[in-house]
């Protein structure tokens, strides 16, 4: 029941509004995985990024799409937590403060084992608008645990202008998502995230030039 509501909500409400406000141009959409287990890794500048990525997929895949999101931001309890977990479908993850023998990635690994598609932002934070920071290695550890999952790099542009971190005002601008060829586990945590980062940087060339200073 809830899944049906989510699916039609995405199709009839969220996607049309997102298309109106953010354009949602996609380059290379045919490279997106058609089924899980898989990981989508993108650069991160705005809450709008998650909406853009969810709208890229056909709505029948929505029950399988799981954005991995910071527990300290999206899982603070109450209605917000319920909404993030059940409507957006997030997997909350602890950023710092976890004890040594606790596997913060456990829930994400279980999702991959169930054949779901994780949406991750390896930068770990939105940062400055339209600038990419260094990548954390969590995504490499996920794909190490589940080498059957591919990691599809996606470069996102524009959402950091529409709704940058700490902004109160949403301003419509067109966004572009450039989708690259999927990567598989290569045996090294830092080697993997470095390659992922390079691939995402390289995808930027296909997006329209961003003139924003």
């Amino acid at each position: 029941m809830l899944q049906t509501i989510r699916r039609y909500g995405l199709m009839l409400i969220v996607r049309p509004i997102a298309r109106l406000l953010f354009g949602l141009d996609a380059i290379g959409a045919e490279k997106l995985p058609r089924d899980g287990p898989a990981i989508i890794a993108a650069n991160h500048n705005s809450h709008v990024d998650t909406i853009v990525l969810l709208c890229l997929f056909p709505s029948k895949l929505l029950p399988k799409l799981r954005p991995v999101a910071a527990a300290d931001h999206f899982d603070k309890g109450g209605f917000g937590s319920w909404f993030s977990r059940n409507i957006i479908g997030i997997i909350p993850i602890k950023r710092g403060g976890a004890s040594r023998n606790e596997d913060v990635l456990l829930a994400a690994k279980q999702a991959l084992a169930r054949g779901e598609i994780l949406v991750v932002f390896p930068e770990g934070s939105r940062g400055e608008p339209e600038e990419m920071t260094r990548f954390k290695t969590g995504v490499a550890r996920l794909v190490e645990a589940h080498p059957e999952a591919t990691v599809t790099p996606v470069y996102l542009q524009g959402a950091g202008r529409s709704l940058p971190k700490d902004a109160k005002l949403l301003v419509p601008f067109n966004t572009t998502a450039v989708i690259g060829d999927p990567l598989t586990w290569n045996g090294s945590h830092h080697g993997f995230v470095d390659e992922l980062r390079e691939r995402i940087e390289a995808l930027k060339a296909q997006a329209p030039p961003l003139k924003w200073s």
């Binding site: 354009g23 141009d25 608008p129 005002l169 301003v171 601008f173 067109n174 030039p209 003139k211 924003w212």
Partner: protein, 328 residues
């Protein structure tokens, strides 16, 4: 006025006779195009791959506009307000702006509401056209310049204030003229305001297609090698003459113009469309893009499709007002 009338319990739809023929003509052209889109890829595989999506998009655009014109001036104004918003968003996404300009970009979007609101606000003013005429060119100019000065980042002020005003005038004010034409009283034109709008859209799109066909058939000499390398003198002049003749031939059915005035407009309107086209090409070259977005499959963005109209619409409106139309 003869034509097609559909009357129900709570509604009455009247479509003037020239418009019935116009709509049927457009549907016939779409059918021919669709047959070509189905047949050509089979005859020459690989060469016509984007014709299919292009034709599908033509169907959507044509049916949407025909529906709006039949539904009346309110629906047409809402459709064009939406088109203006999408065009302005494409423009402001690609044009250089600064981090401090987010508020001013939002104000530019608000100008869509005011600009099209003036079309609805006829009961508020004695002559809302006079206010429409000055609102964006004068007050849009003053307000955007003042707000940006107040926000206070001086570095890059002048280029940015120019970009914002340019975007508002081209995407909102100029396109808004199309919706304003719908307000022309039925008695002023043989097929009413809807006929005037239909004729403008038909003529500018015909000009694009005719230029393309003449260029393909005879094109040799480049007309603007730096801006639009595919355009040729042969294509531009062939398209221009074709459109001018069609304008002169069809003007009596859609406009109240005398033969002399129809000839003058037949010459000027396609020419302004051509300049709108190359102006948008120059801007796209400057910004380093081929298309303004990917919204319309096979065509590119809204601005790619509107380019000739952004210049042709105000010129068409003003010349009609100057030569023939008393009230709008």
């Amino acid at each position: 006025m003869s034509g097609l009338s559909i009357t129900g319990d709570n509604f009455a739809i009247n479509i003037a006779e020239p418009l019935v023929f116009g709509f049927l003509g457009v549907l016939a052209l779409l059918l021919v195009g669709t047959i070509a889109a189905l047949a050509l890829p089979r005859m020459q595989p690989g060469k016509w791959s984007d014709l299919g999506p292009r034709m599908r998009s033509w169907w959507v655009m044509a049916l949407l506009l025909i529906a709006a014109l039949i539904a009346g001036w309110q629906a047409t104004a809402i459709v064009f307000a939406l088109i203006s918003f999408l065009a302005l968003k494409e423009f402001l996404t690609l044009a250089p702006t600064r981090k401090e300009d987010r508020l001013i970009v939002l104000l530019a979007y608000l100008s869509v509401f005011v600009n099209y609101g003036l079309i609805f606000a006829e009961s508020l003013f004695v002559d809302s056209y006079e206010i429409y005429l000055v609102f964006l060119p004068v007050y849009g100019f003053l307000i955007s310049a003042a707000v940006m000065a107040w926000i206070g980042r001086t570095e890059g002020y002048l280029p940015t204030v120019g970009i914002i005003h340019w975007g508002m005038v081209v995407c909102v004010y100029n396109i808004g003229y199309i919706a304003f034409l719908m307000r022309v009283p039925d008695a002023e034109a043989p097929a009413g305001g809807a006929g005037l709008v239909f004729f403008l859209l038909f003529i500018t799109q015909l000009n694009d297609v005719a230029q393309y066909c003449w260029g393909k058939a005879l094109g040799r000499t480049k007309i603007t090698p730096n801006v639009s390398p595919n355009k040729t003198w042969e294509g531009a002049i062939g398209g221009w003459l074709t459109t001018a003749l069609v304008f002169f031939w069809l003007a009596p059915y859609f406009t109240p113009l005398s033969p002399l005035h129809a000839a003058i407009m037949g010459v000027i309107v396609p020419m302004s469309g051509f300049f709108g086209d190359i102006t948008m090409s120059a801007i796209k070259r400057d910004l380093g893009v081929k298309d303004t977005s990917r919204l319309i499959p096979g065509h590119g963005g809204v601005l790619d499709r509107l380019d000739s109209l952004t210049f042709a619409a105000p010129v068409y409106f003003h010349l009609l007002a100057f030569f023939a139309i008393e009230r709008f």
